[in-house]
């Protein structure tokens, strides 16, 4: 299972990097969405995948009856998903604003903040 997931993560990262190298901001964001999913999966796998019981203590019991799954990576991934969602939402709105205000989503056409040196007036 780990090997399958590791390969999947690798493929996701490769696709994400390819997309993020694009000059088109929308493609970049699709790439970022994939990258953050790949990272979340990596974090999940890093906590070890075990076919064991959920980490819940039975009523009346003092501790776990058997081996239990590690709940921490799930908590971390959950946090990371929420954060990634927030960042992506902002990024999408910003892209929309870039299209509305600058008229482009291509990053090499965005030269407002750093205009190229003005040519000498003839």
């Amino acid at each position: 299972m780990e090997a399958t997931l590791a390969i999947l993560i690798g493929v996701l990262v490769a696709v994400a990097v390819w997309l993020m190298l694009s000059r088109n901001l929308v493609r970049f964001l699709l790439g970022f969405a994939m990258l953050s999913n790949a990272v979340n999966l990596a974090m999940f796998v890093a906590g070890r995948l075990t076919p064991s019981a959920p980490p819940l203590v039975q009523e009346g019991a003092e501790g776990f009856a058997s081996a239990f799954a590690n709940p921490l990576p799930q908590a971390l991934v959950l946090t990371a998903i929420v954060i990634g969602f927030g960042l992506l939402a902002f990024a999408l709105v910003l892209t929309w604003q870039a299209q509305a205000r600058l008229g482009t989503v291509r990053t090499d056409e965005m030269r407002v903040a750093e205009p190229p040196p003005a040519r000498e007036a003839k």
């Binding site: 953050s36 990272v39 979340n40 892209t95 604003q97 870039a98 205000r101 407002v112 903040a113 750093e114």
Partner: protein
């Protein structure tokens, strides 16, 4: 009680964000709340610093979960100093903002976002947990996105796109590295990591994770070659926003670098330090050369942030106690000076109507008080004695010479020289040269703008003239950093 000071450093700004949001439709009340909470944060961080100075490292285990299972807040001298200086900068910039922002900017959630940003910054300084550090980074990041686009000009949208894109990459790298480190060690508590990392057998994965973290923090700190988002965006937002960014954001990256390099990744210092040393040299030189090519107040200053970051990383890279003393002293000096210079740029625009050097001038005649206020941080930045920058540079370069790092010392000195060039350029163009339109539009600025600048300039002068106490603080911070055993024992108890 000490623990509460640490927790409140992150909780007070969050409470401020919530209450200023509720008071959104009452402008005067919102401003009063915003400044009140910023002042409360300053008091709290001063008390925190006093507690750390008196009783040593302050540790809080959140909800009473023993380390390393719960979230630990751990504040050593470095963390306390950074929190204090962040609170000072935050208050100064919020006070300045009361005179700067329009009703429309205020309606765009300026105050709540500023406090969320402060919460992220202070949270990052007080936490003792790697994943928690990631969360605080995200808190400050998302707030900084919001602040960056207040006003909504074309240039801001453009700058924000670049700022966002590179920071998203850094964020993903940070998270991935955290995941890998957790997979290797089974812990995210920084003190526990310091114990677990030397026992890792799979050094390859550890090195990969370490490099990812260095790249992520390096991107936040804007070191060469990862700094391009900074000069692309820092000259676009409101002046008070760019001053907070310039003072605090990159320094959170430097702080995180110092923390992980001195505490966690101590297994191969020769390799890490060589890498950081090259980075710092190139950062200093590219930053200062980039600044020399610019002709706008804030664009010049933005490139100088990059070059100054190089000095701090250089202090860290030297790996000696004196180097760290220099890095810590530099951090404190730099935050005050840089935030102040951005605020002064804002006043200059208020008076002459532009931040383009070509379209400014005549300030020396029209506003000699501003000339004096500019002179102090500008020449402190360049390292003129007896201002604070002189001591900061002196310590770092002394540390380099002690280690026979002649090249890096030379790079630092050349950078200092070129910094003078940029500062005299601003001086000559904006202050001495007559204004192209004949006269300066205004000679007076609102008191709320001038007071924070004067206060920050006074800090610079005090640090310069009475450097010894500040040096003592930096020495103690460096001593704690070079002996991580103290930090580890404070967090985990004496069980190791």
């Amino acid at each position: 009680m000490n623990g509460w000071y640490a927790a409140l450093a992150a909780l007070l700004p969050l409470a401020a964000a919530a209450t200023t949001l509720i008071a959104h439709n009452r402008p005067r009340l919102q401003t009063a709340l915003s400044l009140g909470f910023a002042a409360a944060l300053l008091v709290d961080s001063a008390l925190l610093f006093a507690a750390v100075w008196r009783d040593g490292i302050v540790v809080v285990q959140a909800s009473g979960w023993a380390a390393p299972f719960g979230i630990t807040l751990a504040v050593d001298t470095l963390g306390a100093v950074m929190t204090l200086i962040a609170a000072i900068t935050g208050l100064a910039c919020l006070a300045y903002a009361t005179a700067e922002i329009s009703e429309e900017d205020r309606r765009a959630f300026f105050h709540p976002l500023s406090h969320v940003l402060l919460a992220g910054v202070c949270g990052a300084f007080v936490t003792g947990d790697l994943f928690n550090l990631y969360v605080w980074f995200e808190v400050l990041l998302i707030a900084s996105f919001g602040l960056l686009v207040i006003g909504g000009s074309k240039a801001q949208t453009d700058g924000a796109v670049k700022y966002l894109a590179l920071n998203l990459v850094a964020t993903s790298l940070f998270l991935l590295a955290t995941g890998l480190i957790y997979g290797l060690t089974g812990t995210l508590n920084m003190a526990d990591l310091a114990l677990a990392v030397p026992r890792i057998e799979n050094v390859g994965v550890l090195n990969a994770a370490a490099m990812m973290l260095l790249a992520a923090f390096g991107m936040k700190a804007a070191v060469f070659p990862l700094f391009f988002w900074l000069p692309a965006s820092y000259h676009t937002p409101l002046v008070s926003v760019s001053a907070v960014f310039a003072g605090l954001l990159t320094k959170v990256g430097v702080y995180a670098l110092i923390r992980v390099v001195t505490l966690i990744f101590t297994h191969d210092p020769a390799w890490t330090n060589t890498l950081l040393l090259w980075t710092s040299g190139l950062t200093m030189l590219t930053g200062v050369l980039g600044a020399a090519a610019q002709n706008e107040w804030r664009r010049i200053l933005s490139f100088h942030i990059v070059s100054q970051i190089g000095y701090m990383v250089m202090g860290l890279a030297l790996g000696t106690r004196l180097g760290l003393v220099g890095a810590v002293f530099y951090l404190v000096h730099h935050i005050v000076v840089k935030a102040n210079l951005f605020l002064i740029a804002g006043v200059a625009r208020h008076l002459v109507g532009s931040m383009e050097l070509k379209r400014s001038g005549g300030l020396y005649v029209a506003a000699p008080w501003l000339a004096i206020l500019f002179f102090i941080p500008a020449f402190s930045l360049a390292g003129f004695p007896p201002l604070s920058g002189f001591w900061a540079k002196y310590i770092v370069i002394k540390a380099a010479l002690d280690e026979r790092g002649f090249w890096i010392a030379a790079a630092a000195l050349v950078t200092g020289l070129l910094t003078i060039y940029s500062m005299t350029k601003i001086w000559g163009e904006a202050f001495w040269k007559p204004h192209p339109d004949g006269a300066v539009a205004a000679t007076e600025a609102p008191r709320a703008m001038v007071a924070p600048i004067a206060a920050l300039a006074a800090c610079t002068v005090v640090i310069g003239l009475f450097a010894q106490p500040f040096l003592a603080v930096a020495e103690r911070a460096a001593a704690e950093l070079t002996e991580p055993a103290r930090y580890i024992t404070a967090v985990l108890g004496a069980r190791s």
